[in-house]
Amino acid sequence: MDKSVENLATAVAPITDGATVMIGGFGSSGVPLGLIDALFEQGANGLTVISNNAGAAEVGIARLIKAGRVAKVICSYPRTPGSIWFEKRFEAGEIALEIVPQGTLAERIRAAGAGLGGFLTPTAYGTKLAEGKETRVIDGRGYVLEAPLPADFAIIRAECGDRWGNLRFHATARNFNPVMAMAAKNTIAEVRVLSEAALPPETVVTPGIFVQSVVEYGERP
């Protein structure tokens, strides 16, 4: 079994126009910048992006948004300092936005990966973000029913991977990358180091079953 692919362009080649793409990272940590740039070059259009933030300055997701390639963003916090391109597109009505509380975002992604049909969470109960959603009260506590959030692709970043697709992360660059790997039909992982040897089984954070391809990209953010 060898899930490694030669370069970033090959890795992102399957991503089609209109695809839903999860993009790992939180702030600038754990963002698959190599894959995002390759996706920029590749040209896919009309994307729905699921990510915690909406990019900053002119790099990463912001680069895709600036180029008008993103139709919709599903995230918890689009207003990072420097997220000028998201704000511009949003004000102009050129990009759709679904705001999801961060923990609900992670849990909806996990539910998709774990084959669940939804879950009840107390988060956002009684607030604007629960409007139009089914709710119920259990033992005096209010809950919102949230649906799983799957994706066609996930592009994620890890510190180290092997040819079986096993991944290990560095510090807080772990963030959304493991849950996103679970939830996408096709998960593409950029790794700082592609290990010749198999990762020791005890140290694996994302087991290879959740990863369809691995590509080395040595640069650090």
Partner: protein, 216 residues
């Protein structure tokens, strides 16, 4: 801006005041902005474990310049370090800690707090900005002690401590205690109850800049 004629703590004094109420051994989440500074004022001898939503328990101090790890940041996207006993984890585990009641105390900023404990700290009524919620709604439903830390009044002098919030809510009935530059108030079943006044302030003067009634 200070409320007219009142003695107000500055940001450092306010952080120090909040820090006094963080007990030894507590698991604490500090929100973005003013709350971030609380960790610098926790009295010597207390070991407090700081959680950051982006996947670390055991935040250590800011690294020396030039020794930053670009992949080790906190929720404010500032460079941090890992304290002894720290752990890294992914987002769904991080929010299980928050939503599941494992973190003891969260210190958050606020736009508005109401006398029933409602909190508004994620959106205003200005619709020209895209909304952004982050982890605030998860924290307030899951963490048993929610401390709000803020100026007592807005820059224009209008009250932030209200009978009812007018901004979109972050959570319903979630705030336990409010620390401002003018006073410390507990949220009780009957409304706000005075814990202490900043030295030199009279209750009458503080009540005058507070929409909700302050019980004593």
């Amino acid at each position: 801006m200070k409320a007219m004629g009142l003695n107000a703590l500055d940001d450092a004094q306010l952080a120090a005041r909040v820090a006094q109420d963080i007990p030894d051994g507590a698991y604490v989440n500090l929100g973005i902005g003013k709350p971030t500074h609380v960790s610098g004022y926790v009295p010597e001898g207390r070991e407090v474990i700081y959680h950051s939503e982006n996947g670390i328990l055991g935040l250590g101090p800011t690294p020396p310049l030039g020794e930053e790890d670009p992949e080790l940041i906190d929720a404010s996207k500032r460079f941090v370090t890992a304290a002894p006993g720290a752990a890294y984890f992914e987002h769904s585990d991080s929010f299980a800690m928050m939503r599941g009641g494992h973190i003891d105390i969260a210190v958050l900023g606020a736009y508005q707090v109401a006398e029933n404990g409602d909190l508004a700290n994620w959106a205003t009524l200005d619709e020209t900005f895209p909304p952004a919620v982050g982890g605030a709604m998860d924290l307030v439903v899951g963490v048993p002690s929610i401390f709000v830390m803020m100026r007592h009044v807005n820059r224009d002098g209008s009250p932030k401590i209200l009978k009812e919030c007018t901004y979109p809510l972050t959570g319903l009935g979630v705030v336990n205690r409010v620390y401002t530059d003018l006073a410390v108030l507990d949220v009780t079943g009957d409304g706000f109850r005075l814990v202490e006044l900043t030295d030199g302030n009279s209750l009458e003067a503080v009540q005058a800049v507070t929409e909700a009634r302050i019980l004593t």
